[in-house]
């Protein structure tokens, strides 16, 4: 039984309640130490921010200097704002750049700017400490938001809204409102530094301008007859032995994005110098660059077309002046006279029979699933007065696969018709295959036949490309290839070529080539050994 007087109960109760209240107050006493620590931390952060602001503002002024005549000291205006400038980034007195709901701290009243109230440094007055913490926090927030690096970022975004019949716009689906896409400015607290801003501006400018590329090559070759008699031309001129040749070529590319998934492309080419093909009388071109030669020392429009992509970019349509061989008869190891084999017979299939570029259309359907289908047509003679009399059409089926124990392989089959000769539609068909035997070795081959009444001309080629470790430097590659052309009309050509391509720099290659041609005409055979050097720059 509890025996206590009422005074004892009252006193005990009061003591316990007082103790509870003291305990409740304890955190406040403890927080004084925390507050001082926090204060010191804030002062340190503020000093760092101010130092950073000073460091950033100096280069920013330098970067903005070229624009000073136009915009004075204003910060560059984001493109999305229609060219309107923003308030100077480093003007703390202006409030438009302040974060929503933020109150600008009172300016310094003199003395230490971090201690505008002039409180003693060792003040332990909790309220004074709290006031100073609030002041410093506001100042830091202001510095972080506005001064240190940039203003809050502004950009335009695509937005889905719902608009009713009265034009009232809702953010959420609303009865009677129609779903509509619009564009709206958005402001976010994304702090950029000066480098990022400059990079964005440059990138934006690049996207909206015409891009120019150059692909220039110089090929020096030397022809030595190894077999047979000297070639006698139709006019009786005897082609002497051991001659040097040089051809310089330069392609200028222009590319511009003109609409969604739509680009314009033009290639202007100029060639100068005599290639060996004018004298050696080979069935295929010794120098593949000659295939693009129209007139010496002139600029020629090689290609000019528009390309657009439809159906989730699965279907690409290209129309204009084309080189259809850029879309068909691809080969990973033998399809580029500027970096692989230089012999034209090891660049494209001899049975393609396409002699020049012309106006046309190419359609490529590629769902990126392994199969692809291509079709196209173009004018194949610039002397024809209408397209119907010189139409060259081509279709190709391609397949990417990976055979067991090997790398990936590309298998392509094509069929073409051409009525340029005026003898009806001349047909041809062929295949182009490249198969990786391993990461370093690629086997390639082509076969083709073209109609030449009463039989067909035959073409085939094959070889290997080596890269990735089987070379002096990582980017180097080399290859050996063989081709044979066997036309019905007579003559026969067998070609062997080896090349080594040094990747000197990303935009600069040096290649050494050795070609050997055997040209058979009836019982006579002539052989030519053609060593050469190719310098190629592309940028």
């Amino acid at each position: 039984m509890l025996r206590v007087s009422k005074y004892t109960i009252v006193v005990t109760t009061l003591v316990l309640m007082t103790a509870s209240l003291v305990m409740a107050q304890a955190p406040q006493k403890q927080s004084q130490a925390e507050m001082i620590a926090r204060l010191q931390q804030l002062q340190k952060e503020l000093a760092e921010l101010e130092a950073a602001a000073a460091a950033v503002q100096a280069p920013a002024k330098v970067a903005a200097a070229p624009q000073a005549g136009q915009r004075g000291a204003q910060a560059p205006a984001p493109a999305q704002q229609g060219g309107r400038g923003q308030a100077p980034a480093a003007a703390p007195a202006q409030t438009p750049g302040m974060p929503p709901g933020m109150v600008m701290p009172a300016g310094p009243t003199g003395g230490d700017p971090n201690n505008p109230e002039g409180l003693p440094a060792d003040s332990t007055n909790p309220q004074a400490l709290l006031d100073r913490i609030k002041l410093l926090e506001d100042k830091i927030r202001y510095l972080e938001s506005n001064v240190v690096l940039t203003d809050p970022e502004t950009r335009v975004r695509k937005k889905t809204v719902y608009v009713d019949k009265n034009g009232i716009e809702y953010d959420q689906p609303t009865a009677g409102a129609k779903k509509t896409v619009t564009y709206e400015r958005e402001r976010v607290f994304r702090r950029n530094n000066i480098n990022e801003k400059i990079e964005e501006a440059l990138s934006d400018a690049e996207e909206h301008h015409v891009q120019v590329g150059v692909n220039a090559g110089i090929v020096s070759q030397f022809a030595h007859r190894t077999k047979g008699d000297a070639l006698v031309q139709d006019d009786g001129t005897v082609i002497k032995d051991n001659k040097a040749y040089m051809l310089a070529s330069a392609d200028l590319f222009f590319t511009a994005g003109i609409a969604q998934n739509t680009i314009f492309f033009a290639d202007i080419v100029g060639l100068s110098g005599p290639p060996p093909d004018l004298e050696l009388g080979t069935l295929s071109l010794v120098n593949g660059y000659s295939a693009r030669l129209v007139n010496q020392n002139e600029l020629n429009l090689r290609e000019a077309w528009l390309r657009t992509e439809l159906f989730s970019n699965k279907l690409a349509l290209t129309a204009g002046r084309l080189d259809l061989t850029n879309y068909f008869d691809h080969n990973v190891a033998a399809n580029d006279e500027t970096s692989q084999f230089i012999s034209d017979a090891l660049v494209n299939n001899g049975a393609l029979g396409l002699a020049e570029n012309g106006a046309g259309v190419a359609i490529v359907f590629d769902p990126k699933g392994g199969f692809n289908f291509k079709a196209g047509f173009q004018q194949s003679s610039h002397t024809a007065t209408n397209l119907s009399d010189s139409i060259y059409s081509l279709a190709e089926l391609g397949y990417v696969t990976r055979l067991p124990g090997m790398g990936e392989g590309n298998y392509r089959f094509w069929y073409r018709t051409d009525n340029t000769k005026g003898t009806g539609y001349n047909i041809g068909f062929g295949t182009s295959i490249d198969q990786k035997l391993g990461p370093q070795v690629t086997l390639f081959g082509r076969y083709g036949e073209s109609q030449a009444n009463p039989e067909r001309d035959k073409f085939y080629s094959g070889g290997f490309q080596f890269a990735q470790g089987l070379a002096f430097y990582p980017g180097d590659k080399w290859g050996v290839g063989f081709s044979q052309i066997d036309p019905v009309a007579g003559g026969k050509e067998q070609l062997v070529e080896g090349y080594y391509n040094f990747s000197i720099a990303e935009k600069f290659n040096l290649s050494f080539h050795v070609q050997h041609f055997i040209e058979a005409d009836g019982g006579a055979k002539r052989g030519y050994l053609v060593p050469g050097i190719r310098l190629q720059a592309s940028f």
């Binding site: 209240l21 305990m23 702090r191 392994g370 990735q468 000197i504």
Partner: protein
């Protein structure tokens, strides 16, 4: 005792208990509040979304696809990568523009600690025992070491060159740091938190001096050393050299270098450990390396600006950031298997895969969405308004947790 005395005694005791309760509440308000506001009971049940420009981490329930909470980090924090500790207790992120690490309680989603680190914190990792949180500071050339027991930064390890990703060994004794501003991987002794070794992946070729634009310009070095599932080997792609170095973690040496395409971004390990996929942004291809032979098994066409690879349902999903496509590859046949169009004029970011390897959660920053791809059917579902500029996603225990 009389009735009045009993009444007084009872009243006094009640008041005392009440007073004590008030006092205790005043002492520990947070712990009480924490217990009352659990928003995520199971840390594996949510997808974490790092929203760069709304400066928060959003938590999306995997089942309901609803945002169950967001943790605001402060204006201009601009978080980069989010990760949950292996024990599921904390979620952390580095605020790139705040130079701070943010530690979030994974259950209440409260921001429990802000820790100043070095300049521009981006990628991060936890030691397997959840004790250490290594925060890479690429612009500070350092790693900040945060003790997750005391929630304090205990050390800043200097000496790196734009350190990006951190890889701990399974036993937690070493961490490997990819240096994007160099051609070496740093090896850190986790017991002492010191940089022990620099493993050079490959030397620049002899022709490097002829190509200053490539080798003396902006250096694309090593993003990450990607481990095999057992942690025995690491695959480190070097962008400038176009090489992948295979590191033996027992001996800390490169046992093989493999040439891949141009400007490889980084290595991604398939979940079965059989293949490593390397997106080559320089020539828009992917190289698939067979880990049993350490040879390139296939080089396949891909897209521009690749920023991530996820594996699910026997396929590899390669994210082409600027094209709006995810390229798909069959990992059995190593052949292309189509591509998924996710939009026009959109910017795809990075993704995580659920632990069942069924669904991929991809951040899409242009429309502030997370795109959920069913790996088997390739059907797409979108969750909108997750935050501003979702930059990446993370699921606890996922095998595809990575950042740009």
């Amino acid at each position: 005792m009389s009735k009045s005395k009993r009444f007084l005694a009872a009243a006094g005791l009640t008041a005392s208990v009440f007073g004590l309760a008030v006092g205790l509440l005043g002492l520990a308000p947070k712990s009480v509040a924490r217990a009352a506001e659990v928003k995520v009971a199971d840390p594996t049940s949510v997808v974490m979304i790092v929203n760069r420009d709304s400066n928060d981490i959003a938590f999306m329930d995997i089942k309901t696809k609803k945002i169950v909470g967001k943790t605001f980090l402060g204006n201009n924090a601009n978080p980069h990568m989010v990760m949950m500790s292996p024990d599921g207790r904390y979620v952390v992120t580095g605020g790139t523009r705040a130079n701070k690490a943010f530690i979030i309680d994974s259950h209440t989603l409260e921001l429990v600690k802000i820790i100043p680190v070095d300049v521009a914190p981006e990628h991060l990792a936890f030691s397997p025992d959840s004790r250490w949180y290594y925060q890479g500071n690429p612009e500070g050339d350092s790693i900040s070491v945060i003790d997750m027991q005391s929630l304090t930064k205990i050390k800043t390890i200097p000496g790196f060159a734009e350190p990006l990703n951190v890889t701990f060994t399974p036993d937690g004794t070493k961490a490997y740091i990819g240096n994007y501003g160099a051609h070496w991987v740093g090896v850190v002794d986790v017991r002492r938190h010191e940089l022990m070794k620099k493993i050079q992946i490959a030397a620049p070729p002899g022709t490097a001096k002829l190509d200053p634009g490539r080798y003396l310009g902006e250096l694309h070095g090593i993003n990450i050393a990607t481990p095999t599932p057992d942690g025995r080997f690491l695959y480190a792609a070097d962008g400038a050299l176009g090489m992948v170095g295979v590191i033996d973690t027992r001996e800390d040496k490169v046992i093989k270098t493999i040439q891949v395409g141009k400007d490889p971004w980084r290595a991604y390990m398939s979940h079965d450990g059989k293949y490593v996929v390397i997106p080559n942004n320089g020539d828009e291809t992917i190289s698939i390396i067979d880990t049993s032979s350490n040879k390139v098994a296939a080089t396949l066409e891909a897209g521009p600006g690749m920023v991530g690879v996820n594996f699910a349902a026997g396929k590899a999903f390669v994210i082409s950031s600027s094209s709006g496509f995810v390229y798909v590859y069959n990992m059995s046949s190593l052949r292309p298997a189509g591509r998924i169009k996710l939009g026009t004029n959109v910017q795809l970011e990075t993704a995580t895969t659920d632990t069942a390897d069924q669904k991929i959660y991809l951040a899409e920053s242009t429309t502030n969405e997370v795109v959920i791809i069913d790996a088997r059917t390739e059907a797409v579902e979108r969750v909108g308004n997750v935050g501003l500029y979702p930059w990446g996603t993370h699921i606890m225990d996922s095998k595809d947790n990575y950042c740009h």
